[in-house]
């Protein structure tokens, strides 16, 4: 996922006039020229790599889609071994987006709360250890999350599912037939746990950058600690938190093994989030790849291309949001 660049990119510094002059003069020196060449080369290399990936995906995808007997976008089936082959991404797109949205709804508020707790409420002695534990959470391999999900989380979800069915079953979204809890909601909860550390860490860094003056000014005006957070910290950190969330979303969209282990995939869209079924792009590729024929792989690559496009759209949207908010945030103060 190339979402990293959103978070890592520092606000472009406006070089002052004398600096500019120095830079212009320095560009003639060999060291500067080499550095210019290196950085420009890296930039171009990145573009070439992205173009190569896009080109490869598009080429193989076109090969597969031209043979597809169904509609690639609307067919509820994935059957590349038969003649003529039928496959479509509707269920995968739905599942990928729904599971990621559930993960975001759960993870973002919790992450922001943890980050605020660590920067503004936690006793100094606790900050280090808690941050350390959250970092550890990010280091756990996703297949381990998958195993934990399948062996611990799924059996323990039945109670929650029963409760949701009793009180919210009438909505249709939370009705439950009593199957194993290998559903989109379980996957969303698991993904939320997986993306929690990255959102928390970046948010914490952002909240830490809030200028001391802002907070002290708010306190001087008689604000309580909550009001300081509401009026100084959160507005300042908003674009950073959005970036952090997009990083998390990127991971949730592309998560493979944990989803493949926990979900009970099928090619239907279920109105209920509690019924087992559905699927995601990455999970489908992982489970179909090993037995797929040459053509089957092309079809999987075509689905990968759609995920690629969705990720690009999400990144673009995130950039747009951040760009719009830039002037209101404290980053330029």
């Amino acid at each position: 996922m190339d979402t990293t660049q959103i978070a890592d990119a520092p606000p472009p510094a406006q070089p002052s006039a004398p600096e500019q002059k120095r830079a212009a003069r320095g560009a003639t020196r060999p060291g500067d020229r080499i550095f210019l060449g290196l950085s420009r080369g890296s930039g171009i290399l990145l573009l070439v790599i992205m173009a190569a990936i896009a080109g490869f995906l598009t080429y193989r995808a076109v090969l597969a889609i031209s043979e597809d007997d169904g509609n690639f976008l609307t067919t509820f089936e994935w059957n590349t071994g038969v003649n003529p082959p039928v496959f479509g991404i509707a269920v995968l797109a739905y599942g990928t987006i729904v599971s990621s949205v559930i993960a975001m709804i759960i993870a973002v508020p919790i992450s922001v709360a943890i980050a605020l707790f660590l920067t503004h409420y936690a006793p100094r002695r606790l900050r280090g250890p808690i941050a350390y534990v959250i970092d550890l959470l990010a280091a756990v391999p996703s297949i381990v999350y998958g195993l934990w999900g399948a062996l611990v989380l799924v059996p323990h979800m039945s109670g929650l599912f029963g409760w949701l069915n009793d009180y919210l079953g009438w909505t249709g979204i939370f009705s439950w037939q009593g199957g194993a809890a290998r559903s989109m909601l379980t996957v969303g909860i698991l993904l939320a746990i997986m993306i929690l550390p990255i959102i928390t860490n970046v948010s914490r860094e952002v909240f830490r950058q809030v200028p001391q003056m802002h907070e002290e000014a708010a306190l001087a005006l008689g604000a309580t600690r909550w009001e300081v957070i509401r009026m100084a910290v959160i507005p300042f950190g908003r674009s950073g938190v959005i970036s952090a969330s997009m990083l998390g979303l990127g991971r949730a969209l592309g998560e493979t093994m944990a989803v493949a282990t926990v979900l009970s995939p099928d090619f239907l869209i279920h109105t209920s989030l509690l019924d087992p079924g559905g699927g995601t792009f990455a999970q489908n590729i992982a489970s179909k790849f090993s037995e797929a024929t040459e053509f089957g792989r092309d079809a999987l690559i075509a689905s990968g291309l759609v995920l690629f496009v969705i990720t690009l759209l999400v990144n673009g949207a995130a950039r747009a949001i951040i760009a719009r908010r830039k002037e209101y945030s404290g980053a330029n103060a």
Binding site: G81, A260, T261, D266, K288, S290, E291
Partner: protein
């Protein structure tokens, strides 16, 4: 100077100690190995393996269904011959692709080569083509988890309806009719199929299509097609779900039906319902016809068999090699290995690992074909 000499002496002493220890442990492990296998067929196996001038390293890829069988063979075989065999079990599709691209001299597959794959193999096999050698049989067990029900009997139409979500409760009259003595609970059926593409699914649905076309109106193939039900990856995943879910039923290879998973006996129309065992699977494979032409020995299984004690829900995995034009550097090793696999000892190893040995007349043809590989 002095220091150097001391170093050298120390080195020599160390080397002596290490080699001595090695020799000792080698003796020791030899002995325990002999004792452990004492009396078993595996003890005799290495002496029966004909190595010829086989040596070197062989890479192979293919069906994960026969992975445990190949591993058991390799263990015996490489004890006798100086051949290192590396079977990757990347799946039948991957295996056939690797074979037709010339990356491996031998592949394992759950289904026989398709015509276009045979055509592709002609590029690799100089003057010959890829052929299928049926070598490993496997009963596909239908495991279930229904509290209080021990000897469940089902027939093909009922299995088809259960897996197609037409029968959804364990106390359905269709099941009750087949199990007059059982106390069937009022419990929702949770049918599990494979979420990944698989030769097991292919053979399971082939069976249902051949015997209950009306109740299973799908084309079949490696991907599961019926709607509804739940799924899990790999045979191990399905078995694990059946084990932990009350009311579950699922299909997988017999070797996964351990740890207390009960399996369904099939009412084939024979006198008695047939249990899923390796012997019963071999009996069903004996009813198969060889449909391959030339040296190809691909089988057409008779799923509708009513022979006494023949368990019809079986899959056969093939070893795929070139009949002519095998690469000179791997041919002796591949030939010696397949000769061992098809031998009496090799087939006996199968039964010890929950696979079904090939029936006598089929394996006899496989042996002749293996000898003629060039």
């Amino acid at each position: 100077m002095k220091l150097q000499r001391m170093n050298r002496r120390a080195l020599a002493l160390g080397a002596l100690a290490v080699s001595g220890a090695l020799a000792l442990t080698a003796c020791g492990s030899d002995e325990t190995g002999g004792n452990g296998n004492g009396g078993g067929s595996s003890n005799a196996a290495p002496s029966n393996v004909k190595c010829d001038d086989a040596s070197g390293q062989v890479l192979a890829d293919g069906s994960s269904a026969q992975k445990n069988a190949v591993d058991a063979w390799v263990k015996q075989f490489s004890a006798a011959c100086k051949v290192e065999i590396n079977y990757k079990a990347g799946g039948s599709g991957a295996g056939v692709t690797a074979f037709t691209q010339g990356q491996v001299p031998w592949a394992g597959s759950d289904s026989a080569l398709k015509p276009e794959e045979v055509a592709a193999s002609k590029k690799i096999c100089k003057g010959g083509q890829g052929i299928d050698l049926p070598m490993v049989g496997g009963p596909i067990a239908v495991g279930y988890n229904v509290p209080g029900v021990d000897n469940l009997v089902l027939d093909a139409p009922t299995i088809a309806k259960i897996f197609d979500s037409k029968i959804t409760n364990w106390n359905d009259p269709a099941i009750a009719k087949l199990n007059p003595d059982a106390k069937l609970p009022n419990l929702k059926i949770q049918a599990f199929h494979r979420s990944d593409e698989s030769g097991t699914t292919d053979n399971f649905t082939k069976y249902l299509i051949a015997t209950a076309k009306k109740d299973f109106p799908y084309e079949g193939g490696k991907a599961w097609q019926a709607k509804g039900g739940q799924s899990a990856p790999q045979s191990s995943g399905v078995a694990a779900q059946v084990k932990q879910t009350s009311g579950a039923i699922g299909y997988f290879e017999l070797s996964y039906a351990k740890d207390g998973i009960k399996t369904v006996a099939i009412d084939t129309g024979a006198g008695k319902p047939v249990e899923a065992t390796v012997d019963n699977a071999t009996k069903a494979i004996a009813d198969a016809k060889i449909v391959g032409t030339g040296k190809d020995l691909s089988l057409d299984l008779n799923y509708a068999t009513k022979a006494e004690g023949a368990y019809p829900m079986v899959l056969v995995t093939y070893e795929i090699v070139c009949d002519k034009g095998n690469k000179a550097d791997t041919l002796p090793a591949v030939k010696a290995f397949l000769r061992y696999a098809a031998s009496e000892d090799g087939q006996k190893v199968l039964a010890e690992n929950d696979y079904a040995p090939m029936p006598d007349d089929i394996i006899a043809k496989v042996r002749t074909t293996v000898e003629s590989l060039s």
